[in-house]
């Protein structure tokens, strides 16, 4: 009911938008300008070479995760095979680049993601016409089957997919415009950032069109959407094809970035990664997959440096999000929005303190878990390299009983303390919202 009321209350503001005043235009364009500036100055802030590579990866992942969110978040289609469009976009982009180099065609590098995008769109149309006839679990399984079909074919059709080593290219050999040869990573970063910004704006705009809204309706209740006069299958099909388009753009960008595409790009691992990125970030909002893409890329690079079993931590993080925060990190942030809007800074501070109280035991629990996992891994798989390991710069003798007892105590104690402190958070949360509501009524 409150949604309806607030919706009505917002109506005049929308009316104002139709006669654009300077303020409305600024509200519309401001965030994108800020983002463009942020993209432009980021390389100046983080100057190391590896940071630039990571930023490029993040840009690619943002486009890919947002395209995935068009399916899962906007239309309610859970896909286990989205990497098919990403990977095929990448392969066709690489083949296009090689053809352009071979025939010396006058095509500059920044146009290449378009090739990837159109390939993604084409395969989205082909596979979408088969798979979007069903929704829900059946769709999920079909997307998995199609993903496996393409992944298995990639090992059979060696001419096109290049076998195990993949297909490589040279991005500097294309037509140079404005004196850019795209050899240095910084130029590639700006190319990716530009395409990322364009894709983000396009996907955000699409979300706000009547088509985007009808996709939401199909997600919520396909039958009622049908009664309004839209065919849910057609809407699912269009959404699927467009998601393929943007996944293909991401694949084309990846092909430019790595100058190499191999069969793993169409595989289940890549499909799982984008699902993780979108869901961990939060599929309920536009900002969620962006957060998820940045976080997952960062974790992938950082964790794989620190530990061999980083994928296990990844999986555990994902299960944790599914169980305790189904709207992802963005959902957790949005939960606090009413407090921010009510300007209840005092209760927000108290809530933050309560979080800090609960964070201690949670970290203890986590430390115990990490110790347990690392010791198990080391004893069973890397036993030949000796039994001492280093966890958090502390040398641990994994063959003796003491660290195992310590890990058990950390886990049990951390869990028990967390259970004890969690009601504090609950109480602070309850108080904060009671005050925010009170403040809202007073206004």
């Amino acid at each position: 009911m409150s949604d309806v009321v607030s919706g009505v209350a917002k109506l005049p503001a929308r009316g104002a938008l139709s006669q654009p005043g300077a303020a409305a235009v600024a509200r519309l364009i401001g965030p994108w300008l800020a983002l463009a500036v942020a993209f432009a100055v980021l390389p100046a802030i983080v100057t190391s070479g590896s940071a630039l590579t990571m930023l490029s990866l993040m840009g690619i992942m943002i486009v890919f995760a947002l395209s995935y969110n068009m399916l899962l978040g906007e239309t309610g289609l859970l896909s286990f095979g989205h990497a098919v469009y990403y990977g095929l976009g990448g392969f066709l982009a690489v083949h296009a680049m090689n053809t352009i180099i071979h025939d010396a065609l006058p095509v500059p590098l920044p146009m290449i993601p378009l090739v990837g995008g159109f390939s993604g769109l084409l395969f989205g149309i082909i596979f979408g016409s088969v798979s979007t006839r069903r929704a829900g679990t059946a769709f999920a399984m079909i997307s998995l089957g199609l993903g496996e079909l393409v992944a298995s074919s990639s090992l059979i059709l060696r001419g096109f997919f290049g076998g195990e080593e993949g297909v490589s290219t040279n991005r500097t050999k294309l037509l140079h415009v404005f004196g850019l040869n795209f050899g240095p990573q910084i130029q590639v970063y700006y190319l990716i950032a530009g395409w990322c910004l364009l894709s983000m704006i396009a996907m955000y705009a699409l979300r706000r069109t009547p088509f985007g809204r009808m996709c939401n309706a199909v997600r919520e209740n396909a039958e009622r959407a049908q009664f309004v006069g839209y065919n849910p299958r057609t809407l699912r099909f269009i959404a699927f094809s467009i998601a393929g388009l943007f996944a293909g753009i991401a694949g084309g960008l990846a092909a430019i970035n790595f100058e190499l595409v191999n069969a793993s790009e169409v595989g289940a691992g890549q499909s799982g990664l984008v699902l993780f990125a979108a869901y961990i970030g939060g599929i309920g909002s536009f900002i969620g997959p962006v957060i998820g893409a940045v976080l997952v890329t960062w974790l992938e690079v950082m964790l794989s440096d620190v530990t061999d079993v980083w994928q296990l931590y990844f999986g555990l993080l994902f299960i944790g999000i599914v169980m305790f925060a189904p709207n992802g990190i963005a959902g957790l942030l949005i939960m606090h929005a009413p407090l921010w809007q009510a300007r209840a800074y005092g209760s927000m501070l108290r809530l933050a303190l309560a979080y800090l109280v609960a964070l201690g035991p949670a970290l203890v629990l986590l430390a115990g878990l990490i110790l347990l996992i690392e010791m198990t891994y080391h004893l069973s798989v890397k036993a030949t390299e000796g039994t001492t390991i280093s966890v958090f710069h502390v040398t641990v003798e994994a063959a003796s009983a003491i660290p195992w007892v310590v890990a058990a105590i950390l886990i049990a104690g951390g869990f028990w303390l967390f259970r004890m402190t969690w009601p504090v958070v609950g109480a602070a949360w309850h108080d904060a919202f009671a005050q925010a509501r009170g403040a809202g009524r007073a206004k």
Binding site: G76, L78, V130, A138, M141, G145, I156, F160, Q311, I319
Partner: protein, 316 residues
């Protein structure tokens, strides 16, 4: 030729029955809770690794009993403390929970047993040839696998249709609220079915482990085919799952033994296939080489001509 057909039929039925051992649990769980357990093949893998580890200590036969019970117990715990809590977040979250579980189980298995295959062997008591058909020695262990699968199938059918527990389970599939009103603990029935379903998958793992390769990627290899089986058969249809299991088992086994390519067929009728080009492999690939993708081609065909699956009636 007759030899090939006989042996391939036996192997195909065996593969199909193993698939059905898993698909039956998967289908029961799906029709009851509306969750397609993505981690089902992971429990099969756990069964194989538990079977290997336990048979190292006490021999194959105790492992044959203990490993499925252990895995079924883990399955029941997963339902009780994981899936039941996720249920409130809706079906997508439930499916994603099992997806995460699949991922984590694979990583845990790699963490403990490594990425390479483990040395899980056919027990000595079954390591002989059962009979000789047309100069091929058919191993007794395969007969044992086949008989076990058929015996479990028969027991499952009898329990589901002839016993009180089976009737309660069947009733809970369609009318969970009514069953609860009659005083049965429906959540406990769910937990039981999940435990038994994962236990059956583990049985398949214990007996298939020595015959196939027991390795940390075995869930990833088999899982997608399992989902093809349940979609092709019709989601939630036990008889459909049975048909589809046998179909895919037979088709895939026979395909492996056919060394024919499009170029051969075209050559046979006097047409030369176009040479060169990036898709030239398409003409020279033999049927045996595309055997791994046949289930998925079947899936696409079924979706075009019969979107609800062979025996499926409802849209899910």
């Amino acid at each position: 030729m007759l030899e090939l057909v006989t042996i391939s039929t036996l192997n195909g039925v065996l593969y199909g029955m193993l698939l059905f051992l898993m698909a039956s649990g998967l289908t029961l769980i799906f029709s009851m809770m509306g969750v397609l357990n993505f981690a089902h093949a992971s429990f099969y893998m756990l069964g194989a690794f538990f079977g290997f580890q336990i048979s190292q200590i006490v021999g194959f036969w105790p492992a044959f009993i203990v490993a499925p019970v252990l895995v079924g117990g883990i399955g029941a715990l997963v339902e009780r403390y994981g899936l039941r809590n996720v249920h409130q977040h809706g079906p997508v979250a439930e499916l994603l929970f099992t997806f995460g579980l699949y991922f984590v189980i694979e990583e845990v298995v790699q963490m403990i047993w490594g990425k390479g295959p483990v040395d899980y062997r056919v027990p000595a008591s079954l390591d002989f040839s059962a009979f000789t058909a047309f100069s091929t020695n058919y191993p007794a262990y395969k007969m044992f696998e086949l008989l076990t699968a058929i015996a479990i199938f028969a027991v499952l059918l009898a329990v589901l249709t002839r016993t009180r527990v089976g009737l309660i389970i069947q009733a809970s599939l369609t009318h969970p609220h009514m069953v609860a009103m009659l005083g049965h603990n429906v959540p406990r029935v769910f937990m039981l079915v999940f435990g038994v379903g994962t236990g059956l998958a583990a049985v398949a793992g214990v007996i298939a482990g020595p015959a196939l390769v027991t390795q940390s990627n075995m869930a990833g290899l088999l899982g997608p085919i399992l989902f093809v089986v349940v979609v092709v058969g019709g989601l939630g249809s036990l008889s459909g799952a049975f048909l589809a299991s046998l179909l895919i088992g037979l088709v895939q086994t026979f395909a492996v033994s056919v060394n024919l390519s499009v170029a051969d067929v075209l050559g046979g009728i006097g047409v030369a296939p176009p040479a060169g080009g990036p898709l030239s492999d398409l003409w020279n690939v033999t049927v045996a080489q595309i055997a791994p993708i046949i289930p998925y081609l079947l899936l696409v065909l079924i979706l075009i001509f019969r979107p609800t699956g062979l025996m499926g009636t409802r849209e899910h």
